[in-house]
């Protein structure tokens, strides 16, 4: 479903060139949940931005369902992103001036789904993440866990093939993370949605199908249990 081939991305800081991705390769099947781990500054978020079409690589390609998104021009990338991809962020990134239900409905509205149909779908989605009673609340009145559940609902409401999650538990305590992560994973599995999660959280990595480590600009497959062994060492 998702094929990454020879992906390179440099950043310039004055005269110095910093290569974040240096020929990264990976393949992820439909419905698979994959964690990407790595040290701070290793390029995990950059990778996610490239997969989501927010940023462009210097070389290499990304194909989603056979379509090479790195070859698309900006407007087409935007349209592709809003139809086929959902995002979940560490800091939730909800719109503070919209209510809970409106935040979710925004993803539908951008895809041309409006009116009662859109409202019903966003309400159903919020019910699935356990927030049926907070539809009209302002997002700044919610707890961190609730906000992240709204973000998950927003990422899934338009039924994308791919959800990209950037440190979804990074801003939550352990207990809340233990509630939120299963919601994301189970909803993605129910819908056969491919999930790529950038994380530092071992619990997250333990619950996904595969784990990739981003090291020296390349993606390395970690066998099951390797993460636990390395951290215990």
């Amino acid at each position: 479903m998702l094929t990454i081939t020879g992906l390179c991305r440099d950043f310039r800081e004055g005269e110095r060139v910093h290569r974040v991705l240096d020929g990264a390769d990976a393949g992820i099947a439909r419905g698979e949940a994959v964690a990407v781990i790595g040290r701070s500054g290793s390029g995990k978020s950059t990778l996610l931005n490239l997969i989501g079409g927010i940023d462009c690589p210097d070389s290499g390609s990304i194909r989603i369902d056979g379509r090479e998104i790195t070859a698309l021009r900006e407007p087409e990338r935007t349209l592709f992103r809003r139809r086929r991809i959902g995002f979940v962020y560490q800091f939730f990134n909800l719109i503070p001036t919209l209510e809970v239900e409106e935040n979710v409905r925004l993803a539908l509205e951008l895809n041309g789904i409006r009116g009662t149909r859109a409202r019903r779908r966003s309400e159903d989605m919020l019910a699935q993440v356990g927030l049926a009673d907070r539809l009209r609340s302002g997002v700044d009145r919610l707890s961190g866990g609730e906000q992240q559940r709204v973000a998950i609902a927003r990422a899934l409401v338009h039924e994308p093939e791919l959800v990209l999650a950037d440190e979804p538990t990074g801003n939550l305590d352990e207990q809340t993370a233990a509630v939120v992560m299963p919601v994301l994973l189970s909803l993605a599995r129910q819908r056969n949605t491919t999930l790529v999660i950038v994380t530092h959280d071992r619990m997250v990595a333990d619950n996904v199908d595969r784990t990739l480590e981003l090291r020296q600009g390349k993606l390395h497959e970690l066998r099951r249990g390797a993460l636990r062994e390395s951290s215990s060492r």
Binding site: I54, P75, P96, T97
Partner: protein
């Protein structure tokens, strides 16, 4: 409403103070335009109505010079042709302290003419011409003067009292009739001292070819010295006299709008910057560049519409104050007009709304382009944003250079165009705005380095300004531009005042000036009784005197004033000739040549030695220009001619005024009393000492510039509000940073000092950028705008006061901007701001 629009609207509503200040800036800019439009349109409308009332349905007029039309000509034309004609005698009179236009009409001819077409009807005087002193007034004016039908009252014509009786009130007529007093033609001739002469003959010609043919025939049958002119064209010529004056007012109002454009830019770009993160989120969710750009522009358009709406309302309110100032200036300088009603032209509202929305859209265009071109990354790093602002500041410094060069080129390429002058001026002001960000950054960095060792807080405050250029530069640029304009206008007004003062000192040599009182300069009915002149000259202590006749004569492009002089010995040195050989000029003048003022020479592109053709009573005569003189009395221009030559050309023996020279050592008060006594009971005269007349001239000058001052304070007010708004928003945005400093141990007093240092420094930088720009603006205003609009040559005068107002404004606005954030940082618990993030 889409959720994107809803989110955007709710953001604005969550920041009401910011929204209010942005709206206030735009509303004031639009209000200035609306008020100037209303004030000028109302004066224009009042003038047109009074013309309408006086001219009736006439399509053309037969006119002559100051001597008027011989009534025999009328009699001949009436008997030989079948064109509807009506004789009119008119002049200004006063009732109490109110100026009225006395119009004498022929009962028989007037009725015939009135019936000739649809349009305003004159009263039918047939029923009341037999009563001596009979007059007709509008019922409104009669009520205001406390008059009723049958009641007698006094009116004054050039200082002489006349007895009149109100015999009829006009009801249901438009406001133009409120300034007109109708009487029988013979009565008007007697009162105005023009027996046997008419002011003009009104003609009603059919439209189209038959009318043109009749006009050609009529023109051919007129004796020398008489002209047939279209009524509308003549009214337009009178209105055109005020063109330069109204253009200047409009330019001042545009300046206020230009300042508010920058402020709207500041507000919109700030609102965009504040929402950069939200915009990043919606872009990541799939909103296209178009979606986001549309939202920014839609927001600006709504802001523009509301601001313009408020501006129209405020403009109407300001206009009520401005109308008085504008009509008073028109009365002082051009013609008598009484504005009763305000005219709010529909196009003014349409213009205001489109200008408001257009301004907001133009201002929002750059932020919209910027936001649509930004990659949809969340929370674009502040450092990247500031780096962009630094690059933009460098580019703008280059743009500023080219704008200034462009302004210079425009001035030199179009040497006479007033519009080109204004475009150059606006380019110059924009150039100031464009250089300001680079200046602000450089000075802030320099100051931070200089004072850094002594106080780390001050260093932090100054370094922050340089590091937050994206927020601070626009506000400072807007203030700098407004201050530059303010300094420029101040210097121009002061230079004009000084030049006028010097000119008055030089030109007014006589000890006492005597004129026949009455409204309107150049009115033929304002004449001194010959016996009064003899009596005044015979008063002991009078050693010399000059005589003058001020009239209005016709040039192809409209009327121009002419001063016919019989100079006293001292008068020769009083006329500031610009020609190199004054003796020769005066010799030619005595022989019959004329001297023209600088404004007339500029307007008609005349030089010494050229010929100027005047329509005299004995037909057109080309007169040689012996010299050019400096004159600030009249922006349309003035002609000087010897009194003897004038009398030969126009057969007018009248004298409008005289200058009396007293023996050295004479007591002025005693001499004035002796002069008053000599004419007592003959004619009420305006008798003013040299000093009084100089003071009066200066007070008229001050009145003329009151409007300019009101408008530039409005522009400055807009800029001050903008600065307060932008800096307030910036300081509030930095609430968390301030909270961290407070948590680290910065005292409330230290926080207040830090904030006030920042805003005060920005005010100072705006002032520093504005001082050289203000000087340049003054040079353009004095040497380009004034020269092109009025033909005046003014010497530049610089005083400290011209800069002190600007300093006051800059510092007051800057310090006021810091007050609330300073208070807030001291009062709000530190934890609140730290949690807010």
């Amino acid at each position: 409403m889409s959720l994107l629009s809803a989110a955007s609207l709710r953001h604005l509503l969550r920041h009401p103070a910011q929204l209010l200040l942005a709206l206030l800036g735009l509303a004031l800019g639009v209000a200035t335009i609306v008020s100037v439009d209303i004030a000028t349109a109302s004066s224009r409308r009042a003038f047109e109505l009074s013309m309408d009332a006086v001219n009736g349905p006439a399509t053309h007029q037969i006119i002559a010079g100051p001597q008027g039309v011989d009534e025999q000509v009328y009699a001949r034309l009436r008997t030989t042709g079948n064109i509807p004609l009506a004789p009119v005698v008119e002049g200004y009179v006063t009732i109490g302290d109110r100026s009225m236009l006395l119009v004498g009409v022929d009962p028989f001819a007037g009725v015939g003419l009135s019936g000739a077409a649809d349009g305003p009807k004159r009263p039918d005087p047939a029923g009341w011409l037999i009563r001596p002193g009979a007059v007709v007034l509008s019922s409104t004016t009669a009520r205001q003067l406390g008059l009723s039908v049958g009641r007698s009252f006094n009116l004054t014509v050039a200082g002489s009292e006349r007895r009149a009786t109100l015999v009829e009130e006009l009801r249901g007529q438009h406001a133009g009739y409120d300034t007109v007093l109708f009487t029988d033609i013979a009565q008007a001739q007697e009162w105005l001292g023009s027996v046997g002469r008419l002011s003009r003959i009104e003609v009603h010609l059919p439209a189209g070819r038959p009318g043109d043919a009749a006009a050609a025939r009529l023109r051919g049958s007129l004796p020398p010295g008489l002209q047939l002119v279209a009524t509308r064209g003549r009214a337009r010529e009178s209105l055109d006299m005020t063109a330069a004056f109204t253009t200047n007012l409009q330019a001042m109002s545009l300046l206020a709008l230009l300042v508010s454009t920058l402020l709207i830019y500041g507000s919109v770009s700030f609102a965009v910057v504040q929402r950069r993160r939200i915009i990043g989120i919606v872009r990541a969710l799939g909103a296209t560049r178009g979606d986001v750009g549309r939202i920014v522009l839609l927001e600006a358009a709504i802001l523009g519409l509301i601001g313009a709406g408020c501006g129209v309302v405020a403009g109407i309110l300001i206009a009520h104050a401005l109308i008085g100032l504008v009509s008073r200036t028109i009365n002082d300088l051009y013609f008598v007009v009484a504005v009763k009603d305000t005219a709010l032209p529909t196009w003014t509202i349409a213009k205001a709304l489109s200008v408001g929305i257009g301004t907001a859209l133009v201002a929002a265009l750059l932020p919209a382009i910027e936001v649509t071109n930004s990659p949809p990354q969340l929370g674009l790093r502040r450092s990247v944003l500031e780096m962009r602002a630094v690059h933009a500041a460098r580019r703008l410094a280059v743009v500023s250079f080219f704008l200034a060069i462009g302004a210079g080129l425009i001035i030199f390429a179009w040497t006479r165009s007033l519009l080109a002058g204004f475009i150059a001026l606006f380019l110059l002001l924009l150039s100031v705005a464009a250089i300001t960000p680079a200046v602000l950054r450089a000075l802030a960095q320099l100051a931070a380095r200089l004072v850094g060792r002594s106080s780390p807080i001050i260093r932090l405050a100054l370094a922050d300004i340089a590091a937050s250029l994206s927020r601070t530069a626009v506000a400072v640029a807007a203030l700098g531009m407004a201050i530059a304009a303010m300094i420029g206008v101040s210097i121009m007004v002061e230079s004009f005042r000084e030049s006028l003062r010097e000119w008055l000192t030089r030109t007014m040599r006589a000890d006492v000036y005597v004129t026949a009182p009455g409204p309107g300069a150049g009115r033929p009915e304002r004449r001194l009784d010959p016996q009064v002149i003899e009596a005044l000259v015979a008063v002991p202590g009078v050693v010399d005197y000059s005589l003058s006749r001020r009239v209005s004569v016709e040039l192809p492009d409209g009327p121009v004033s002419l001063d016919a002089l019989k100079p006293a010995h001292a008068s020769f040195a009083a006329v500031p000739l610009t020609s190199p050989n004054p003796q020769r000029t005066w010799k030619d003048f005595a022989r019959g040549d004329i001297i023209v003022s600088e404004p007339l020479a500029w307007r008609l592109q005349l030089s010494q030695g050229d010929l100027l053709t005047l329509n005299t009573a004995i037909g057109p005569r080309s007169l040689r220009i012996a010299g050019i003189y400096r004159d600030y009395g009249n922006d349309r221009g003035n002609i000087l001619m010897s009194l003897a030559r004038y009398r030969g050309l126009w057969h007018d023996e009248g004298t409008t005024g005289m200058g009396l020279y007293l023996a050295p050592g004479s007591a002025l008060e005693a001499s004035l009393a002796a002069l008053q006594a000599a004419v007592h009971g003959r004619q009420a005269l305006l008798m003013r000492s040299n000093r009084d007349l100089r003071d009066l001239s200066m007070s008229i000058f001050e009145r003329t510039f009151v409007i300019t001052r009101v408008l530039y304070w409005l522009a400055a007010g807009v800029a001050a509000i903008g600065l307060v708004s932008a800096l307030l928003a910036w300081e509030l945005e930095r609430g968390r940073e301030m909270a961290i400093l407070r948590a680290l141990g910065l005292t409330p007093r230290g926080a207040a000092l830090l904030i006030e240092t920042q805003t005060g420094f920005m005010g100072l930088v705006a002032l520093l950028a504005a001082i050289p720009a203000g000087l340049l603006t003054a040079v353009v205003l004095v040497d380009v705008i004034n020269r092109r609009a009025f033909g005046w040559r003014i010497d530049l005068h610089l005083t400290a006061e011209q800069f002190s107002n600007a300093l006051l404004l800059a510092l007051a606005a800057a310090l006021a901007a810091g007050l609330y954030p300073a208070w807030r940082s001291a009062r709000v618990p530190i934890g609140t701001d730290m949690r807010d993030e």
